[in-house]
Symmetry: C2
Subunit: 419 residues, 2 copies
């Protein structure tokens, strides 16, 4: 859903742009043992989300991830597991600047033998943090264009707190006039020549204690960086709570819509239409289709949630066939897919064998699907001629569906819930 862009500006980036992603941090501030760029949510490490943000930008030609030597294998494994393309891993240095410098040299074909890239020295290098996963194409475009024109460009944000100077004894000295200052954020962009020269000319002390690439560009190349106000989505995952925030953003992105497959029977279509209305009131958009064939196959490529409606027959064959299609589309690689089987049984017939879903059957199919990152749940409801009761049931299905899709809980797969 909405993760690949076809914007008019794509064609206007007519020079090579590559990315250096320093990911050597130790994550002390998260309160977690794992460095935060390697912490996972929804089954995927943070750094993979960040890589994906760059990978989906067509005009970015390569990404160099710089990690501490002890994390090279972990990083290589992540790249294989999530099938990242365009990415090379380079070992970091002892400080942030040494790591970024290693990445820049690797882009120029000047790294150590093993990490040398094909000779495609970029015109512009974008430097970003591995822990800012939500950077967007339009802002990268602004940074790349300004970097090409000015030599250097960087993201800024308004200060969130008043900045104060303290006396050596820990008392208030004075507060800064907030309007004159900005927080320097990531991404930053440089022409290759500027960032390369800056690192060639800077001192060991700069390498060890410097914090700002923009500052090195100014000091050693006389390049005044263009500062561009960035959106709040540039925020940095710093604390454990930020991982929860990042997870909630991804979950919300994945939960906005679902595709309902009816099989075409009149009863299923009626239910699907009622569900669509009820889900709309819960801010979830449902698209109703008879199947995923032909043109409807596009849902396999863009949707994260599928609802199979079955009326009066308890066979899981339709669900199993959908699971096969989803696997073939290789969708669950990046995010867990949700499949919900909604089973409507007639109110009159009491538990006619073969018409009531068998809990063990759905549990087995769900266990197998879970291994492929597809979360399968069942919801059962009963037909009713009492309009009020029927509407209440449909609303319950919509509420349960919405909760299952939003929470994406692996522990609850295979359950047959009652609406």
């Amino acid at each position: 859903g909405g993760q690949s862009y076809h914007q008019p500006w794509e064609r206007s980036v007519d020079f090579p742009v590559s990315v250096v992603l320093p990911a050597g941090g130790t994550g002390e501030r998260t309160g977690l043992q794992t460095p935060k760029q390697f912490c996972s949510f929804l089954g995927r490490p943070l750094i993979s989300y960040t890589i994906q943000s760059f990978e989906r930008v067509s005009w970015i030609q390569s990404i160099v991830v710089v990690v501490a030597k002890e994390n090279m294998d972990l990083m290589t494994d992540i790249i294989q597991r999530f099938q990242h393309r365009k990415v090379r891993v380079v070992p970091g240095g002892s400080t942030r600047h040494r790591s970024i410098c290693n990445g820049v040299l690797a882009l120029g074909g000047q790294g150590e033998e093993e990490e040398r890239l094909p000779a495609d020295k970029p015109k512009v290098v974008i430097i970003h943090d591995a822990v800012r996963p939500f950077v967007e194409e339009d802002f990268l475009y602004k940074i790349a264009m300004a970097a090409k024109e000015q030599g250097a460009a960087g993201a800024i944000r308004p200060l969130v707190s008043t900045v104060i100077a303290t006396t050596s004894e820990g008392y208030l000295d004075h507060s800064l006039e907030r309007a004159r200052y900005r927080a320097s954020e990531m991404p930053q962009g440089f022409t290759y020549d500027v960032i390369y020269q800056a690192y060639q000319r800077c001192t060991e002390s700069d390498f060890d204690f410097g914090t700002e690439c923009l500052h090195l560009a100014l000091q050693y190349c006389g390049t005044n960086a263009k500062l561009i106000e960035g959106p709040p989505t540039l925020w940095k995952v710093t604390y454990k709570r930020d991982l929860a925030a990042a997870e909630s953003i991804i979950k919300e992105t994945l939960s906005r819509s679902a595709c309902v497959i009816t099989g075409g029977s009149a009863g299923a279509v009626t239910l699907a239409d009622a569900l669509q209305k009820a889900a709309g009131a819960l801010d979830m958009e449902l698209d109703v289709v008879p199947d995923l064939k032909g043109d409807n196959g596009r849902y396999l490529l863009k949707e994260w949630n599928f609802i199979q409606v079955s009326v009066n027959h308890s066979s899981l064959s339709e669900v199993e066939s959908m699971l096969k299609d989803l696997e073939a589309a290789n969708r669950a690689l990046l995010h867990p897919l949700v499949v919900i089987w909604v089973h409507l049984s007639g109110s009159d017939e009491l538990s006619v064998s073969g018409r009531t879903p068998e809990p063990a059957a759905i549990a087995d199919v769900a266990s197998a699907a879970k291994l492929r990152n597809i979360l399968l749940y069942g919801i059962q409801l009963h037909q009713s001629k009492d309009t009020e009761r029927w509407e209440r049931s449909v609303l319950r299905v919509a509420e349960i569906t919405s909760a299952l899709i939003r929470e994406r809980s692996p522990a609850l797969v295979g359950q047959l819930l009652q609406a």
Copy 2:
């Protein structure tokens, strides 16, 4: 639990301390329509969590919440609904400083008639933001003591980003030396006399455009504020993502432990012990007790999650009696309580009537409990003499229990899940 402290320092605050909580913000930055202090998670608005953080501190005598006139009724309703004590609501002014000043005057018995408090002018006034709900007693203590000694004190935090000065054309001018500067945060504390005089003496321009109370204290009272490094828990809920982060922190606090009630039968105790072990591996601590009578009644006052184990009988009477006890303890007022009914049925007897739980029965009890903010779920498992199968079932119960407790999903109450 863990929300009331009995620390040695309690006795050492021997002067009156009150709090002013400006809550007039419009929440433009959250991307939400409701001002963020009134946004809810887990059924309660953010500001109520913040009020609770102060209310549970024994040495804080009163809290004045300053809100925009149009939100007075909403705020009064929140105070009644969550049974806040110690709290008065005062209408805000047109700027943050005018609002804080109104709060200070109300504390001194100098507000308008209606918002006048009993004559208990505090020695120290703590000013805090309504959107920083996680402030802790030990830090409030530090601020109160330093304010009393120095006249003014404020929380500081290290800068998260490099601060840069920009040229008028939007280029980098210079970056600040990070070590010399700090972010000024909340809470801040003042002796009543200092903050009162500062507002008496300051100009209209200060009222309209000033940002820092600390600065007014310095300028108009010659009081150099003591700056105290605060913990990361002082963070401010600013964006929509921060609400998700706050919710995740509360959910984690509520999910660390649960109380298992066995009824004392050997089969239930065996299951409870096995569950305890499995839950331990999932980082959840279970306390196993036969009932909630006598000394075990303490769990009613400190635990947020209860698991009733039933063996071979499907009556909900034990659960219903527990729900009654929980209601009497008035616990669900602040956070939703979770009650999980774990039903173990023998493997030999096939669906003996009266021994298999009736889904409709648990759904009805759950619907009623939900109205009282108690979330009831059921989990069914079958006895097995196959050790491996039995252990797998117990692990499933633990996983489902852990997920239900962590997610606290209202949409899934009343479901009878299969382990």
